[in-house]
């Protein structure tokens, strides 16, 4: 490994080193400036990614513009999640260095997954961040919900890891290599063993992206874990998984069956996610089902991969990431002391806590795909890719299920602004600076991407080349 390689890998090295450093700092000075330290490391990785446009190819890892873009996105979400967690955890009494250290470790794993150039490294990256989330989901040790969520996530996660590993093994059996670039060179007729392997890999990834029918963990885990963790889990881990799917899909490029499988996944996910969200009464479960549905639109973009679906998928996941951070961020700000989860408990909060309420409303409009929010441009990109590749039926289903979605997103907005507050009309807690920043970043991103998506779209054009 040369010096240039090290320089190129520095964003990952900073995060991994930071994780260890935070652990050590916690051991030496318990309760010190741990979140600030972790923030500094993430910011350093972020700055490095922007400032040093290096690229390098190493065994198993390839530092490409693709990797750098995803690192940028993942580290930004990590930054916001840390800002949210800092205040939330203090109020909830979640102390200790394990939280920020594990978060940094999760970011390292996600980055590694995006840089993977062979299946083994992809597996390592994916499982590294999933492992970190096993801890983060259950970090609130006294909470029953947290424990339940942790167990559910662990059981589902290990199952998906096993499937993923089996798929990789099958692919290796049939081809004798793990390198993605070599595997993408298709022989005229792919052998059944290889296709079975690819299918199992896709199924493993479907767990991470909570595509129906591999979505059953989502609602319970999102509801049970603390809101800042859900914010990260629902955005960064989806982003990294989308990157992984983009890396793996060339393996199934010439195979019609791959298209058909994704087609069914997209259909089932869009319809089930939106219909299930319709009947939720808790806001976290509603957002969880909505995130399932949103991933259905990403699947729709993957179906249209040859017609520019890759760009649409990444744009969608970025727009969703901003909305997810803003919505779960607002929920974590609004629900930190009392376990406010029922939608009816959000009555009138739009006035009592104007900024957090507005951030939540903007995020919901973005999730519903209503301009001028980023979600509209994302849906626009996905639908135009789908129509271009001739998936008219799927696009129509997508649009109609988006209409269903509008209804349940509006329910939350209605509660926030149109129903009188409950009797306890106590003046709302004013936000701390870190919370305001954590809400302002994604909200600004939603509006910016909704009104002027050109820079991002052109960047994606160049990355996907």
């Amino acid at each position: 490994m040369t010096k240039a390689d090290l320089m190129a890998l520095m964003p990952l090295i900073i995060l991994a080193g930071g994780s260890v450093a935070v652990l050590l700092a916690g051991a030496l000075r318990p309760g010190g400036w741990l979140y600030e330290l972790a923030l500094a490391f993430v910011a350093a990785a972020l700055v490095w990614t922007v400032a040093v446009p290096a690229s390098a190819v190493m065994p198993g890892l390839a530092v490409t513009p693709f990797f750098r873009f995803f690192t940028l996105f993942l580290d930004s979400t990590g930054l916001v999640a840390l800002l949210l967690a800092a205040g939330y955890n203090k109020r909830r009494g979640i102390v200790g260095e394990e939280y920020p250290a594990t978060l940094l470790f999760a970011l390292t794993g996600m980055g590694a997954a995006c840089a993977a150039s062979d299946l083994l490294m992809l597996f390592l990256g994916l499982e590294a961040f999933t492992f970190a989330f096993y801890i983060l989901v259950a970090v609130e040790r006294d909470s029953i919900r947290g424990g339940e969520a942790g167990l559910k996530y662990l059981l589902n996660g290990t199952l998906s890891a096993a499937i993923l590993a089996m798929g990789i093994a099958l692919v290796y059996c049939s081809r004798g290599t793990l390198k993605l670039s070599e595997l993408a060179l298709q022989p005229a007729a792919p052998e059944p063993l290889f296709l079975a392997g690819v299918c199992m890999i896709l199924l493993g990834l479907a767990f991470k992206l909570s595509w129906v029918p591999a979505h059953l963990w989502t609602a319970d885990v999102y509801q049970g874990s603390s809101a800042p963790v859900t914010a990260l889990l629902s955005t960064a881990s989806k982003g990294a998984s989308v990157a992984a799917v983009l890396l793996v899909l060339p393996l199934a490029a010439g195979w019609r069956g791959g298209h058909d499988i994704l087609w069914c996944l997209a259909l089932a996910t869009m319809v089930c996610g939106n219909l299930a969200a319709l009947v939720q009464t808790g806001i976290k479960r509603l957002l969880a089902w909505s995130s399932v549905a949103q991933m259905g639109y990403v699947a729709l973009a993957f179906v249209a991969l040859p017609a520019g679906g890759g760009r649409a998928a990444i744009f969608y996941v970025v727009a969703y990431g901003a909305a997810g951070l803003a919505s779960f961020g607002a929920v974590s700000v609004l629900s930190d002391e009392t376990d406010r989860d029922d939608i009816e408990q959000y009555r009138g909060l739009g006035y009592r806590n104007p900024f957090a309420g507005a951030a939540l409303a903007v995020a919901l409009f973005s999730l519903a795909g209503i301009p001028p929010a980023a979600g509209f441009m994302a849906k626009f990109a996905v639908f135009s890719a789908a129509l271009r590749s001739g998936e008219t039926a799927l696009a129509v289903v997508g649009v109609l299920s988006a209409l269903v979605a509008v209804f349940f997103y509006l329910r939350v907005v209605v509660a926030l602004y149109m129903k009188p507050a409950d009797s306890g009309n106590d003046p709302a807690r004013s936000l701390s600076i870190s919370e305001s920043v954590a809400l302002a970043i994604p909200t600004a991103a939603i509006l910016f991407l909704g009104l002027y998506p050109s820079p991002l779209l052109e960047l994606l054009e160049r990355i996907l080349g």
């Binding site: 135009s384 129509l387 988006a402 509008v406 509006l410 149109m418 050109s454």
Partner: protein, 497 residues
């Protein structure tokens, strides 16, 4: 020269700037109200200035034939979306109506809105930007954006400041509109892709897309999606059910804007986009369009006759009046189309005025039930006078504004489809029936309940006098307006301007 001033951009975004300007006044509604009035008046003056100089602008011959001002800039290159705004006679009329209606909406809610005033003003201003954008956008994607943006403030307006079942009504309104517009979005994208396949150029520009030759079947599907979106806004029978609820539960300002402007975006969209983009499909669906419009007129008039709530009655009358606009568009013939466009403005003014007046009565009596009032002529003569005037205008009394529009629509339609014109004429009689009932029960008769009703104050008189002046002026001397829309109409129906 004038094109370099970016007047259209200013026209669209000046209210939004005003909306942001409200933020520092968050806790000071007393200062925010005059400020909002200033912004809206400025916008009205700008629109009036454009009107004053339209013949000079037309002589300059800008980039697109028939347009007075055009602005064009790349916006989202990756999608082929451009920021194209264009002003022609039809848009100018709608722009003036918009600027005017918002002043009316602000004036009627000056005292009626007492809570969350600044938020209310901000939403009004944001909505003005959205509606201005709808009437000026010439890029389909940009049009769609504004089309959706204007919904959000209205959603809050009804939901937060409305009465009765406001939440049900506002969600219903939002979902109905979204249903149509989402399918239209797919149609817009499909049209864009078909054009790109044929010509290789990626564009959403209206005037590029008009030239796309489409097979008849495709055209029918795409036009169907556009038609659905616009028909819901219109609203055409049987897609109208959101309207009575939304109108009844909206605050007065919301009703004024709904009736005056949002309904017009539907008819405007059909004139500007639907018919020109898909002429053959539109021809095929003309009988259906006639049928729905006439059914709407008859049905709405009959239902209006049975209403007990004044606001609901006027809401149903709106459906009927928009039916004439629909018939004029369906005829797609110069005289009828001019009539439709003028009728859009007329209906905006008269129905806006009627809603404002019912709002004033509601503020005093806290009820809108027809059966409660009676004998108002003796108690509040000024109010009664104006109410009678606007009701007569609404019926289509010659000399007042609606007569002009309805007459043109019917005489134009007669050359195309005598049957449709005759049936629509019967509708006018039905209009007369329920309006006379309303006026007779409320203004005349004997007093039913002793209500302490003060007559109009100075603000209200000024507002209604301005509206009345317009009603008379547009009825007596409609030539300037007809001249304004003459050129664009000739271009649309295909003929020498």
């Amino acid at each position: 020269m004038m094109a370099d001033l970016h007047l259209l951009t200013i026209l669209v975004f000046f209210p939004l700037a005003g909306c942001l300007l409200m933020l520092p006044f968050w806790k000071r509604p007393a200062a925010a109200r005059p400020l909002a009035l200033g912004v809206m008046t400025g916008e009205l003056l700008l629109a009036a200035g454009l009107y004053a100089s339209w013949q000079g602008l037309a002589a300059l011959k800008p980039a697109l034939p028939g347009y007075l001002l055009v602005e064009d800039a790349p916006w989202i290159r990756a999608f082929g979306i451009r920021y194209t705004l264009g002003l022609d006679g039809i848009s100018l009329l709608m722009v003036m109506l918009t600027a005017f209606s918002f002043c009316v909406a602000l004036a009627v809610s000056w005292r009626a809105i007492g809570e969350k005033v600044v938020l209310f003003l901000m939403l009004l201003l944001a909505m003005e930007t959205g509606i201005m954008g709808v009437f000026l956008a010439l890029d389909l994607a940009l049009f769609y954006l504004f089309w959706e943006v204007m919904l959000i403030p209205m959603f809050f307006l009804i939901g937060v400041w409305g009465h009765g079942r406001r939440i049900y009504s506002t969600v219903k309104f939002f979902l109905f509109t979204m249903f149509g517009s989402l399918l239209m979005l797919l149609a817009i994208i499909a049209l864009h892709l078909l054009h790109a396949q044929q010509s290789g150029a990626s564009t959403f520009g209206l005037h590029e897309l008009i030239a796309t030759p489409l097979p008849a079947g495709t055209q029918l599907w795409l036009f169907g999606a556009f038609f659905l979106a616009f028909a819901i806004k219109f609203p055409l029978f049987p897609l109208h059910t959101w309207l009575p609820d939304a109108h009844t539960d909206a605050p007065t300002a919301g009703s004024v804007i709904l009736a005056g402007l949002l309904l017009k975006t539907g008819s405007y969209g059909l004139i500007r986009f639907g018919y020109p983009l898909f002429p053959q499909a539109a021809q095929t669906l003309t009988p259906l369009f006639y049928t729905l419009a006439i059914a709407g007129i008859v049905y709405a008039s009959l239902v209006a006759f049975a209403q007990e709530d004044m606001k609901r009655l006027i809401a149903y009358s709106s459906i009927g009046h928009m039916g004439y606009v629909a018939i004029g568009i369906a005829a797609w013939q110069p005289v009828a189309l001019s009539g439709s466009i003028v009728q859009m403005a007329n209906h905006g003014v008269t129905t806006g005025a009627l809603f404002a007046m019912v709002g004033m009565l509601d503020e005093r009596a806290h009820t809108r039930e027809i059966g409660v009032f009676g004998g108002l002529w003796g108690k509040i003569p000024l109010w009664s006078f104006f109410f009678l005037l606007f009701s007569m205008a609404s019926v289509g009394l010659p000399g007042l504004n609606n007569f002009v529009g309805e007459f043109l629509v019917l005489s134009g339609t007669f050359t195309r489809s005598p049957l449709a014109a005759e049936l629509a004429f019967v509708g006018i009689v039905l209009t007369l029936v329920y309006t006379v009932r309303l006026v007779q029960e409320v203004v005349f008769q004997t007093e039913r309940k002793p209500l302490p009703l003060p007559d109009l104050d100075r603000r209200e008189i000024c507002l209604l006098a301005a509206l009345a002046l317009l009603v008379v002026w547009m009825g007596v001397h409609p030539a300037p307006l007809l001249e304004l829309v003459h050129g664009p109409v000739q271009l649309l129906v295909g003929g020498a301007p």
